[in-house]
C-alpha cells in the first residue's frame, strides 16, 4: 500500500509535482510525507495540508491508503 500525494496551484509548480504515490516506509506524519516528496525544499510558512480531504497540520499522523495534499492559501470566490 502507499500514500497518494497531491499538490495544487503554486505548490504544484514549487515542487513540480501534481500527483504521486509514495511508499509508507519511514512515513508516519504529514511532515514525513513532505520530506519524501520535497527533499531539501523547505515547506513555505503559509502551506496548508490536508489528509483525506480534511485540513490537517504537519504533525498529523498518516497511514497507508491515505491521500495527503499540500497547497497555498485559498483564493476562491
Amino acid at each position: 500500500m502507499a500514500i497518494k500525494v497531491k499538490c495544487f496551484a503554486s505548490m504544484r509548480e514549487y515542487l513540480d509535482l501534481s500527483e504521486r504515490e509514495i511508499g509508507i516506509d519511514g512515513i508516519s506524519t504529514v511532515a514525513d510525507v513532505w520530506r519524501a516528496v520535497a527533499g531539501d525544499k523547505p515547506m513555505p510558512d503559509n502551506t496548508l495540508c490536508a489528509v483525506n480531504q480534511s485540513q490537517a497540520n504537519a504533525a498529523f499522523s498518516v497511514s497507508s491508503g491515505d491521500e495527503v495534499a499540500f497547497f497555498p492559501p485559498v483564493t476562491g470566490g
Binding site: A9, L48, A50, P73, V74, T75, G76, G77
Partner: protein, 155 residues
C-alpha cells in the same frame, strides 16, 4: 458541466455560470412556494483589475472532492447556526474572462435576518476555507497566482 463530486447544494462547474438561471432552477426544484419569505443571494464576478494592474483573464483551479466536501461542511455549519430552508453554492472553475460570474451563494429562509446573515457568512467562509486558487493573466500576457483573499469583514 458540473463536476462528479457535486451535491444537491454544491456545484463546481467548468462551463459558463449563469447565476440567475441556477437560482431559478434550484428554487423551482427544491423550494415550496409559501414556505420561505426571504432569499438572499451573492454573485461574485471577475474584475478586469487587481492590485493596481489590468487583468485580462484568469484560471481557477480546485481540489476535486475536497472542495465540494469543504463547501458542504460550511453549509452544514450555517444550517446549524441559522434556520435556513435551503442553501445553494455554485462555483466556476477553469479559464474565465472579466465579467464572467465566478460564484453564486443563495440562502432561502422564512425571515430576512437568517438569509442575509447566513449568505454573508457562507461567502466569507468560502473565501477563507474552500480550496480554490486563482491565477491571473495580465495585460502583458504574464501570469501570477493570487496569493491570498482579503478579509471581507475588515477590507
Amino acid at each position: 458541466m458540473a463536476s462528479a463530486h457535486s451535491t444537491r447544494s454544491v456545484k463546481v462547474v467548468t462551463e459558463a455560470l449563469d447565476p440567475w438561471q441556477e437560482l431559478a432552477a434550484y428554487q423551482s426544484q427544491h423550494l415550496t412556494a409559501g414556505k420561505f419569505g426571504a432569499t438572499a443571494t451573492f454573485v461574485g464576478t471577475m474584475r478586469d483589475f487587481n492590485e493596481g494592474d489590468d487583468v485580462t483573464g484568469m484560471t481557477l483551479e480546485h481540489y476535486p472532492g475536497m472542495t465540494e466536501a469543504q463547501l458542504q461542511r460550511i453549509i452544514d455549519e450555517a444550517q446549524e447556526q441559522w434556520p435556513l430552508e435551503e442553501v445553494l453554492i455554485v462555483h466556476r472553475v477553469g479559464p474565465i474572462l472579466p465579467g464572467d460570474p465566478i460564484v453564486l451563494v443563495a440562502c432561502w429562509s422564512a425571515h430576512r435576518a437568517a438569509a442575509f446573515e447566513a449568505c454573508r457568512h457562507l461567502m466569507e467562509a468560502l473565501k477563507s476555507r474552500a480550496p480554490f486558487w486563482k491565477k491571473e493573466t495580465l495585460a502583458d500576457q504574464s501570469h501570477r497566482w493570487v496569493e491570498k483573499n482579503t478579509d471581507g469583514y475588515h477590507a
